[in-house]
């Protein structure tokens, strides 16, 4: 099945389920039942099922279906959960502190999930188009190697030509650049402003170089470009991992707060 067909199928099923849910909710409401109890239990159930997906990843050795199938369920059930949440809070922000915090946790978990889905699809393509394959954890090593290479070029330039132009430029502009990943936020936003500015400055500096120095400058420019590539990969891959540090803890926090909310509702809300 193509991805497009799968999207249509899963989207249609979710839409049907959503419509059925709204109808059920309306019927409950018309019958003067407390529909928020229905949506509350459904929402808790949905969130618990959504949280199981992370467990599935840990138990990859068990034959529990593919992670891809689980992710599809996670995505579309997550969308359905947003609708249930909206019905549960009656499309208004709650008033109480606990309820407000609970709602904030839900919005953060759902929002980070959607953001994660978006960058998972978009960044994967961006990484493919603009870079070679590099493992995130090894990038600091590669940057260190580039730094050593750049310093060797600068030293060679100074000793062979007796000129300090390149060395001065390195000390002022490039030393910090080569010391670790840089311009992370700019890369994440898709901006190439910083690397463009640096390359422009480098090219401006070449006006003051003779032919022999130019050879060293060209090598330095190539190293800057490679470093820029690594920064780009570092930025995108870091964000591809970092969003989970928001999504997963807020989900667990959400479950804990939801259980507390449930306890309070049943203790003081007149339920039963």
């Amino acid at each position: 099945m193509t991805f497009a067909k799968r999207r249509w199928r899963n989207g249609f099923i979710t839409l049907l389920a959503g419509a059925a849910l709204v109808a059920w909710y309306s019927a409950y409401d018309v019958a003067l039942y407390q529909a928020s109890f229905l949506t509350g239990w459904l929402l808790l159930g949905a969130v618990l099922i959504l949280a199981l997906y992370n467990g599935r990843k840990k138990f990859s050795m068990l034959p529990m279906g593919t992670a891809a199938t689980w992710l599809q369920v996670h995505i579309y059930l997550g969308l359905l959960a947003v609708l249930i949440f909206a019905l549960h809070i009656d499309w208004q922000m709650p008033n109480g502190i606990l309820d407000s915090v609970l709602a904030l946790f839900f919005v953060t978990a759902a929002g980070s999930g959607m953001f994660g889905l978006y960058i998972s699809r978009r960044y994967a393509r961006m990484l493919t188009r603009r870079s070679e394959e590099v493992v995130l954890e090894r990038i600091p090593q590669f940057i260190a190697a580039l730094r050593q290479e750049a310093e060797a070029v600068v030293l060679a330039s100074a000793t062979e030509t007796g000129s300090s132009t390149i060395a001065d430029f390195y000390g002022n502009k490039l030393s910090a650049y080569f010391s670790g990943p840089r311009n992370t936020w700019l890369h994440v936003r898709g901006s190439r402003r910083a690397s463009f500015a640096l390359t422009t400055e480098l090219k401006t500096m070449t006006r003051y170089l003779n032919e022999q120095e130019m050879l060293h400058a060209d090598r330095l420019i190539a190293l800057v470009e490679r470093k820029d590539q690594l920064d780009y990969v570092y930025a995108l891959q870091s964000l591809l991992k970092a969003w989970l540090f928001v999504h997963i803890p807020t989900t667990y926090g959400l479950i804990a707060l939801a259980l507390l909310h449930l306890l309070l509702v049943y203790s003081f809300g007149g339920a039963v």
């Binding site: 068990l62 529990m64 393509r125 394959e133």
Partner: protein, 590 residues
Amino acid sequence: MVEAVTIQRPRRWDAPFSEDMDQAEVDRILALEPFRDMDRDRFPESLPLAGIIANDTRLVRYQDGDIIMREGDYGNSAFLVVNGQVRVLLPPGLPETMLGRAQTAKKGLMQALAQLWRNRPYAEVRGAYSAEQSGGTASRAEGAHQARIFLQDVPAILDNYRSATLAAADMFGEIAALGRTQRTATVFSDGPSELLEIRWQGLRDIRRRVDDFRRHVDRLYRERSLASHLQATPMFQHLDEATIARIADETLFETYGDFDWQTQYQRHRDESFNRRLAEEPVIVAEGDYPDGLLLVRAGFARVSQMVNNGHRTVRYIGRGAVFGMAEIIQNWHRDNSDAGGGGAEEQDRTTALQATLRGLGYVDILRVPTAVIEEFVLPTLSAQALADYGQLDDARIGFELRHEDKGAGHTKMDSGILEFLVEHRYINGTATMLVDLDRCTRCDECVLACARAHDNNPRFNRHGRRHDHYMVANACMHCMDPVCMIGCPTGAIHRASPGGQVVINDTTCIGCATCAGSCPYDNIRMVEVRDGNGAFIRDTNTNAPIAKATKCDLCLDQPGGPACQRACPHDALKRVDMQDLSDLGRWLNR
């Protein structure tokens, strides 16, 4: 100006099979059957029989019970008994465990789950290796680079298993060596014996020049495998045994390419496309008269068509495939409708071959002459079958795969990816790891899942050659033609039954790295193993760390199958059988 470095052009016998074949040994061998009766004038001066004996053979001495070849192994040499006798075990043969192979049992659910806490914290931890390696067999070192597996209780084997004796001047193993197929029986030394091992190149040259020898090998093949191969070909399946036998009698055997194709591939893989294409032997060329139906018996072939000044690959074919049937049918129809006609006009209307067929690496071809097909096959095919088989290659219009779900456009394959897969010989894989980089978030869940399933040791690298947004990762492809298995001295690398996955028995692996060196795709890694405390296990004599070959085993012992594929949340990774073009096409066009 820099002066060019000159060397003597490398020649075939620069690296003889053995350094120990001196003139006295060569003379002794030449005096034995069957070499004694061979007409030496049939061999050119540049390739004398004595030269073949000196450079393409070696004398090997075996002790009682030594296993000479194992059923199921791949080998590139045949053996001639010089002194003593050997035993061939008749079907059903020895159990797998007695051949130095491991029986892999699937883990239960609890065992699989227990990997979460039982996996060791150090890399490549192994338990203590016992001297008793498998039921009934053991191994011993034989020189610095040799090891032998031997049967511990020969009398019991002879009592319990049927066997046949081969004595001096008997030859065995030539069919598997020439046809690149698995050994069909296990052979062991019955008492001390001396054997002449003849490598493939020598066998090939003798077969070319000695009619008796060629007839002997061809007869063996005709008797043992040809009929069953023909019967398995779809367009022959309806024929009776007598007709199949007549077709078999007329069938010609042809071999193209280099037996050691992996070596050549490794040498040329970074050269230009045209250079590599020029290295591929042409089996039949586009525009040739179809003088026979070609059946691929072993190996792979590229089907290409001329486009202006270049060749465009339209598909690849492998074992069991046929080539040229459509053109033969077209010409047969024309002949039948024009009965009695002829001349130049008819000649013009002859349908020539629509594509070129080139050998990829090593390929064995069976050529059934057109006249035989016209006499025995075409008249017996239904009108529907004739119409199906008679469709000419329409690849110029598109790349829709023939005989594969034609109604579905999603089986179309981009020509670029097809060229990429063929050029790099990824078509050899039955479980090639393809990664769609447009879907892959580089989360490494596949690597983590693999590590969890293998005692915290990932068995592949999420790295490899790329074409567009597809990557073929460095993971064992479980090849159709597993060149890694050729030359393993202990048979540790073998095909698991019944799935046919290529696996390594860690216990019998001696760490010689023959398999790792042979793998054209760099998918086998040598690792230094540790004990449970993280200390390297060392050789008692040399103190050198013990090395073992490791690679993907397709999670043979895991209850759910390949963990990497199941763990990918984004549908980015798939283990693809490259023979299943329909499946591949669907995945590429999702």
